[in-house]
């Protein structure tokens, strides 16, 4: 169950103003504004194809916006050079929808890869310790020598999250963390997101269309529709709306579940 966080409204870790992004004639984001405070879990809800993943990919500097400002930890993401962007990314964790584990590497190699490549001075014993610690944190110590193809969907998600945690990020970006998982595994992942927040004191943006995930993990929910945030607030506040589109989204999820 989600424990409300001790959020400091003074400290904005992510600030987005007037964000636009199109792919050809598909205008995905049409003036998105968002502010995320330290230790806050913000859930971005919306139907598939509404640009939720595009939003966090812009935050991580993987996509360039057509217009608008994106500040992460005080850095203007669009105007960072390669070195500055690399330094910023060391403070960001990105959990991909597909987990994006490196197929040719074992779980151990997947986890130590970001560490070895970014901190070349580390000793083997320090790397091993970090890998074992983070793997224990997601409850999958026994999979250390397995290949990604041998893991279940839920295990892959957990390892994907562990791989980002090994760099001890300040901000976590979760892209559809429960997509394609059964309800029980989804609950485990939701709990893991909350555990990560408590243990590592991270600030998170969670992209999902799963209402259980939104309710369980979010301090604040932002509903993305037609390229803009239609409503923001607590889960209850957002779904207390009379807007037919929000009601429709809630009903659809309810029927689907």
């Amino acid at each position: 169950m989600h424990v409300p966080n001790n959020i400091s409204k003074e400290e904005k870790l992510i600030s987005i103003k007037g964000l636009y992004k199109s792919f050809g004639t598909n205008h995905v984001l049409r003036g998105v504004d968002l502010e995320v405070y330290r230790r806050e879990n913000v859930v971005v809800l919306g139907r598939s194809g509404t640009g939720k993943s595009v939003l966090i990919k812009i935050i991580a500097g993987l996509l360039k916006p057509d217009a608008g400002e994106v500040f992460v930890l005080g850095n203007d993401v669009q105007h960072l050079n390669a070195k500055e962007l690399r330094e910023l990314r060391l403070k960001l964790g990105f959990s991909f929808q597909s987990s994006a584990l490196y197929d040719s590497m074992t779980v151990r190699e997947n986890l130590e890869f970001p560490l070895v490549q970014n901190y070349r001075h580390l000793k083997r014993s320090q790397i091993n310790e970090a890998v074992e610690q983070v793997l224990e944190g997601v409850g999958l110590s026994q999979t250390i020598n397995q290949m990604p193809a041998e893991l279940s969907g839920g295990q892959r998600k957990r390892i994907g999250i562990a791989r980002t945690l090994i760099l001890k990020p300040e901000i976590m970006l979760y892209d559809e963390p429960t997509a394609g998982l059964d309800p029980i595994t989804s609950i485990d992942i939701n709990n893991l997101i909350n555990e990560v927040q408590q243990r590592y004191h991270t600030t998170s943006i969670i992209i999902t269309h799963d209402l259980t995930c939104a309710k369980t993990t979010g301090d604040r929910v932002a509903m993305l529709l037609d390229g803009k945030f239609l409503r923001q607030g607590s889960f209850e506040e957002v779904f207390a709306s009379d807007d037919e589109r929000i009601k429709g989204f809630y009903d659809y999820n309810f029927i689907e579940q």
Binding site: Y20, S22, G24, T25, H27, R30, G31, K57, A60, L62, D66, A67, A82, R86, E87, R89, L90, L92, F94, F96, Q97, S98, A100, L101, Y102, D103, F113, P114, Q117, N118, R120, R163, T164, L167
Partner: protein, 263 residues
Amino acid sequence: MNGKENLEYKPGKLAAFFISIYEAFAFVMRFFKEVFRPPFHFREFIRQCYNVGYKSLALISITGFITGLVFTKQSRPSLSDFGATSWLPSLVSIAIIRALAPLVTALICAGKVGSSIGAELGSMKVTEQIDAMEVSAIDPYRYLVVTRVMATTFMLPLLMFYTGFVGMMGSFLDVHANEQTSFTSFFENALSSINFLDYWTSIVKALIYGFTIGIVGSYKGFNASNGTTGVGHAANSAVVTSMFLIFIEEIIIVQISNFIRMP
């Protein structure tokens, strides 16, 4: 319609073609910029050398051997008409060292290694593994592209010499069976007609072909899209484009080397 949306620019077909040429050019140029900058991923480079070299060895051995053998068999009747079968070792060595060894090695590697690089990077691209590398503050170009291109460029000359040797062995087998020529006599005869320029031209050819195979495979893989279909397309396109470029490069290098050879 919002004012921002009107800024959208849609290039025409011709403009899109030139944009893609520019992107490919920028991709190639980036290699020369990144290759000298640390960190160097030496372990990955060695792993790629193993993939390029060792895994192509069986195919290259068979193809090289058969090329030498068949070329000798096909040339014998023509030389025999003039009573010049003793020229076979020279003829075969010139053909193999100057043209066949670099070309056969390059075409086999374009098929085996180029497609493998295209498919591997393509699959990493569509499953977001390249993005994952990027958000982990690792430069995927340096880790994936530079190491692979370096490996193909480094390994092709070595493989070419191996193909040349195996091809000459195939030729020797046929010559020995028909003319009872000794091993020493065959190779003395064969190598006497090869000069310094022939070796250097072949090494330069192999270096350029190796670079072409690596960079084309990487470019196609890095730009793969549309899921598994895109991966197949990247692998296929890597082979076709590499082979096409190798033939174009062959023509240019032969012209240049002939120009240098002229008295």
